[in-house]
């Protein structure tokens, strides 16, 4: 007989009561862990999107602005393509206040036999690019050669394998970290590679967008505004002085996403708070009921010489064990719900969803466990303090 084993024995011998308390604390930790993880993932998705933007202003053909959902194509990598003459790069570059400028080239692949899969190809100019390269560099340090590609995190391929686009084989040299957006389904290559693929698509009669020489066209112009210049002023200058193009401020494109995210995050926080309040009330009531139900048992412990502090330690040890188990189950349940269904959550919410890194998730799990144990301890302490205020003799008399 070891007194330290008493809390474990108490829990073992009352499996239904123990299971109910574990389920309650599991619900609490599920709400904390799962809810916070979803909220964090949505925030990570937005941050990733903002980082990905890099440019302050994107210039597109005026016709594209009316024909396409630019936000989807430019920010989320939804397949689509449009072109304008390369001359616009020089014209826009002469506007005052531009620090960096670079062209990009888009080409959507198709589902027919010429391509491995339908997705968005994005070409950049390695000499001038300032938006794609920093991102790619996180996962691929080399320079991209002709028909070499870096693929988004969702594309089912691997480094060293080849993908076929418009009958041209491209070698995968890198895989990007997930962004939580459709960009995870995009392929990145140099402008030269994309131009070659545009030519191939035209040769196959699969690109109805342009009959221009691929060397003379671009899809978008990415602009970084010089410090000291107002981004809106530069954007307005472009729109006023250069015809047939449309300059769009990138931040305005994600404001809708950010608003949706703020709303969703608010709802999640309210739900977490509601579950918390409910679980706290139930947990306090459950521990109070448990102590009340067992007060004769605790009185017997006092009779044989257990001090109030030791009795409190026994009650706290039981609550800590229950809370720890409940916390772990809640976290496992949260993991089982959020991780496998992250794509479903993303599509249902319509927001970028990017799970935090392993370190952050482990930290969140540890904090959730700490919160579960603390709340369990608080509930048990409350019940124990109430019990300690009653004379043992009165409790013994009550039961008879």
């Amino acid at each position: 007989m070891n007194i330290r084993k008493l809390p474990v024995k108490n829990l073992e011998r009352k499996p239904v009561r123990t299971a109910m308390l574990i389920i309650l604390t599991a619900l609490l930790s599920l709400a904390v862990f799962g809810g916070t993880l979803v909220e964090r993932s949505l925030r990570s998705g937005l941050t990733s999107l903002e980082t990905r933007l890099g440019a302050d202003i994107i210039v597109v053909p005026a016709s594209a602005k009316s024909q396409y959902d630019l936000e989807s194509i430019l920010l989320e990598g939804v397949p689509g393509h449009f072109y304008m003459k390369k001359d616009y790069l020089d014209k826009v570059g002469k506007i005052e206040g531009i620090e960096k400028i670079s062209a990009q080239y888009y080409l959507a692949t198709v589902t027919s036999g010429c391509c491995s899969m339908p997705l968005q190809l994005i070409g950049f100019d390695p000499q001038t690019d300032f938006t794609v390269k920093p991102w790619i560099r996180q996962n691929y340090s080399g320079e991209l050669g002709e028909f070499e590609i870096v693929i988004g995190g969702n594309i089912n391929s691997a480094v060293g394998k080849t993908l076929k686009f418009y009958n041209q084989s491209c070698t995968v040299v890198g895989t990007l970290a997930r962004t939580g957006t459709e960009l995870d389904n995009a392929v990145f290559a140099t402008a030269q590679t994309i131009k070659a693929l545009i030519k191939s698509s035209e040769a196959l009669g699969l690109n109805g967008q342009t009959r221009e020489d691929p060397e003379q066209i671009i899809s978008t112009i990415q602009i970084k505004v010089q410090e000291g210049y107002d981004i809106d002023d530069v954007m307005n200058d472009i729109n006023i002085h250069i015809t047939r193009v449309q300059a769009v401020r990138t931040r305005s494109m994600i404001s809708g996403v950010a608003d949706s995210l703020a709303g969703t995050a608010y709802i999640i926080r309210v739900l977490i708070a509601a579950v918390w309040v409910l679980a706290l009330v139930i947990l306090f009531a459950a521990f109070a009921a448990m102590v009340n139900e067992r007060k004769r048992e605790f009185a017997v412990l006092r009779v044989i010489g257990t001090s109030r502090s030791r009795l409190a330690r026994i009650i706290l040890a039981e609550s800590a064990l229950v809370s720890l188990l409940g916390g772990v189950f809640g976290i496992l349940l949260g993991t089982a719900v959020v991780f496998p269904f992250s794509n479903l959550i993303e599509s249902k919410l319509g927001l970028p969803f990017l799970l935090p890194g392993t370190g952050d998730i482990l930290l969140l799990a540890a904090l959730t466990l700490a919160v579960s144990v603390l709340v369990g301890a608080a509930a048990a302490s409350y019940a124990a303090v109430k019990l300690s205020r009653v004379d043992t003799g009165l409790i013994l008399r009550e039961g008879n």
């Binding site: 007989m1 009352k14 412990l301 044989i304 004379d391 003799g393």
Partner: protein, 224 residues
């Protein structure tokens, strides 16, 4: 070892306000001496259990003091009083008092395990199991024991620390004649071995086991 109650009383408030109270025990003095059984008989609600609980250090008196060999129990800290009770006072409370999560044997060893981390008590626990006649139930849980077996379990647990004082509250309540005789015989033996025993009961048969007998009526203790 002498446990002495010196003019103790216990009053309870019926509602808030000093005027509306009643005495469960009126000013009472009682001394328990080694080697004898002091019996207190009386009807239910007469204040017998309240008196016992005050003498056990489990219920603070409204007035007066309880001393064990001169030490005022209620002047001690909770921890000091708990240790003192563990080592010197064996209490047999009313009703079923076995811990459901422990076997009969572990229940008996529990008072020792509170302050010791060794197995020196194992032999004495076995002896007591045999002495109270439940050795065959060592591994049974309280829910598997009868009322008489549970009462014998409580006696063995009260005796495990070889206390100088034993306070038994209705130890024969609801027991049949055979079990009553067994339980009272065990208390008699403890007294004969040198313990000071307080036997609180409404059982008339208990009279024959007591060396000194008192009657309690409406909180007032008088020699029977």
């Amino acid at each position: 070892m002498i446990l002495n109650a010196e003019i103790i009383s216990k009053k309870y408030m019926r509602k808030s306000g000093e005027a509306n109270f009643f005495y469960a025990v009126r000013e009472t003095s009682l001394a328990l001496t080694a080697g004898s059984i002091t019996g207190v008989i009386g009807r239910s609600g007469s204040g017998k259990s309240t008196l016992l609980n005050m003498m056990a250090g489990l219920l603070s008196p409204s007035a007066g003091k309880v001393t064990l060999d001169g030490t005022d129990l209620y002047a001690l800290s909770d921890k000091e009083l708990s240790v003192l009770r563990n080592q010197n006072i064996g209490v047999i409370p009313q009703g079923q008092t076995g811990l459901d999560s422990l076997t009969a044997l572990d229940n008996i060893k529990l008072p020792y395990a509170l302050y010791h981390n060794d197995r020196q008590i194992d032999d004495r626990a076995d002896e007591l199991l045999h002495a109270v006649g439940i050795a065959h139930l060592a591994d049974a849980y309280p829910s598997e024991l009868s009322g008489g077996e549970l009462r014998r379990l409580a006696i063995a647990r009260a005796l495990i620390m070889q206390p100088g004082i034993i306070l038994a509250d209705e130890p024969t309540g609801d027991l049949d004649d055979e079990n009553t005789a067994t339980v009272l015989g065990l208390l008699r033996k403890a007294a004969d071995d040198g313990a000071a025993v307080l036997l609180v009961t409404h059982d008339a048969d208990a009279r024959q086991y007591a060396d000194v007998l008192y009657r309690m009526d409406a909180g007032v203790l008088a020699e029977a």
